[in-house]
Amino acid sequence: MALDLSTSLGPVTLPNPVMTASGCAANGKELARFFDVDRLGAFVTKTVMAQPRSGRGTPRMAETPSGMLNSIGLQGPGIAAFCAGDLPMLKDLGARVLVSIAGGTSTEFADVAAHLRESAAFDCVVGVEVNISCPNVANRGQVFACDPLSSAKVVALVREQLPRDTPVIAKLSPDVTDIVSIAQSCVKAGATGLTMINTLLGVVIDTETLRPALYAVTGGLSGPAIRPVAVRAVWQVAAAMREGRLPTVPIIGVGGVRTGRDALELVAAGAAAVQVGTATFNDPTAPVRVLEELAALVAGKGFTRFTDVVGVAHDRT
């Protein structure tokens, strides 16, 4: 029996649930050498801010067991160059684009969203992912995602700038005491979906030099090592939705997905879509491979609709 892989991001329906992860796929042309990016449910772009950013010094990366630590510092061209170059190029490739945006202040987030809305290629945008795991200048560099009020303010301002039918998806950090309360305030402020999780903060010491391995000292931990944390975050927020503690909105699961089996964990925990990040560095075709493997697994279990598997593990505890 044919499997219906389509999934919904609220106002928008995608043909399948697998995406790239922001910052792990650049902006399209690099991976287009390995597969047609229109095969993905969506292509998630590198977080873009208002101005061009050089990113941090190097080393920016350290390998860790089943993962890596990175501190890129949101290097990017700025929203104007993104709209002039990257977005039209992704549109030409036929991609459905989930644009990741950030700002050092909530108004910068809003300005970036406003600029994006005016882009000639905006019709290829299937949603905006709001990367609130980004330092808040006003709060001594604490990330917005640590604080329910700052998170809500960012989401509300971005929401105002975008058409009603454009999904606004808040990307949450796992480095918080209670991820459900952050999810609640984002949804209340107008988020139509949630992406979980961004990286976990870590430090690696180079034992040869006895210095921090990264130039920026701290970095974000990603890869299969963090998968149980991602599954937990998705599980907790999906459970809270089922209990009616916050409105039910689509969850996009991300963290440590390397295979279709890994993706299925996030889906069964409640994710309506899945992003593939660090695994792409290991295998540039990982996003489409995960899609194929996930489809085969779901079909193999006798399901005919992908959406029937979403959150299924909550009924089997």
Binding site: E30, R33, S54, M61, M68, N70, T280, N282
Partner: protein, 291 residues
């Protein structure tokens, strides 16, 4: 961007020691045919469930596009970490996943010209292939190989075959002239009248080749060795500050815009003790200051 192949099960057909290094040959059709000197491959290590997710990048030592086994690529590996140790422990018929050819190759002179090719340690690996390509164009290829000690030189015998002249240096004097390549380079430039220098090796050596080239009116084309997580341009870990034609410095990816850069375009002032600070005048450096 140029075409790239992913060979999911590249078979190892030969592995042998070469001084302190291992010289390995993989069957990699699709990579061998289109590769050019200076390009590299990104090799997965540890198998499909490996805990080492990041690919290891190696400059291509040589290619044989139509061998008995189909196209093959040769790499020179210094086994200094978990990934490279896994690779050098592979035996005939073992396989791994290889992506390539990647990056920008060494640009060849438009007209016949004398060239100096400088390799530090295993950095000499791509130079013999480059020398052959230069000679095909009527260029002279003068080789300079340097290393800390004799066992860390690579390809001295190949160099005698490939080069119009060969100089060897070691820091400890166990082979050739005692000292670094800088000890012999000025004389090589004077004697050969070289107008282009090609170099591959550690950052300090590339900087010194760039400076000595400039002092002799030559252009240096250097292949950098930056830490890379993906090798294919998607992670932004491998950046270095490079000044473009517009005079502006940008943090550019050494895997995609490089690994070969004009030496005089690299902001050597930004490098110190294995770290690189973003120059204050770099594009986008201002925005980093606020957050």
């Amino acid at each position: 961007m140029s075409p790239v192949a992913q060979v999911r099960a590249a078979e190892l057909i030969a592995t042998r020691r070469a001084g302190a290094y291992h010289h390995v040959t993989f069957v990699a059709p699709g990579i061998a045919e289109s590769a050019r000197p200076g390009q590299f491959v990104a090799v997965a290590v540890g198998g499909p469930t490996s805990a080492n997710l990041l690919r290891r990048a190696f400059s291509i030592h040589k290619v044989t596009p139509s061998g008995t086994y189909g196209g093959t690529v040769d790499l020179v590996i210094s086994a200094k970490g978990a990934g490279t140790q896994w690779l050098t422990a592979l035996r005939a018929h073992d396989t791994t996943d290889i992506v390539g050819p990647l990056g920008r190759p060494f640009p060849l002179p438009a007209e016949a010209a004398p060239c100096v090719l400088v390799g530090g340690g295993y950095g000499s690996a791509p130079l013999f292939w480059l020398a052959a390509a230069l000679k095909e164009r009527g260029c002279q290829a003068h080789l300079v190989l340097g290393a800390a000690t004799e066992s860390r030189l690579f390809g001295v015998v190949d160099a005698r075959r490939a080069g119009d002249s060969v100089h060897v240096t070691t820091d400890d004097g166990t082979a050739g002239t005692k000292g670094t390549v800088a000890a012999v380079l000025p004389a090589v430039f004077r004697e050969t009248g070289a107008v282009v220098a090609y170099a591959c090796g550690p950052m300090g050596m590339l900087r010194s080749v760039t400076e000595i080239s400039a002092a002799h009116g030559a252009v240096a084309q250097v292949a950098v060795e930056e830490a890379m997580a993906c090798g294919v341009g998607v992670c932004m870990t491998c950046v270095i500050p490079v000044t473009g034609n517009d005079g502006l410095t940008r943090m550019v990816r050494s895997c995609a815009e490089g690994p070969v850069f004009r030496g005089d375009r690299i902001r050597w002032d930004a490098f110190d003790g294995g770290r690189c600070t973003v120059p204050e005048d770099a594009v986008g450096a201002q925005a980093m200051r606020s957050h």
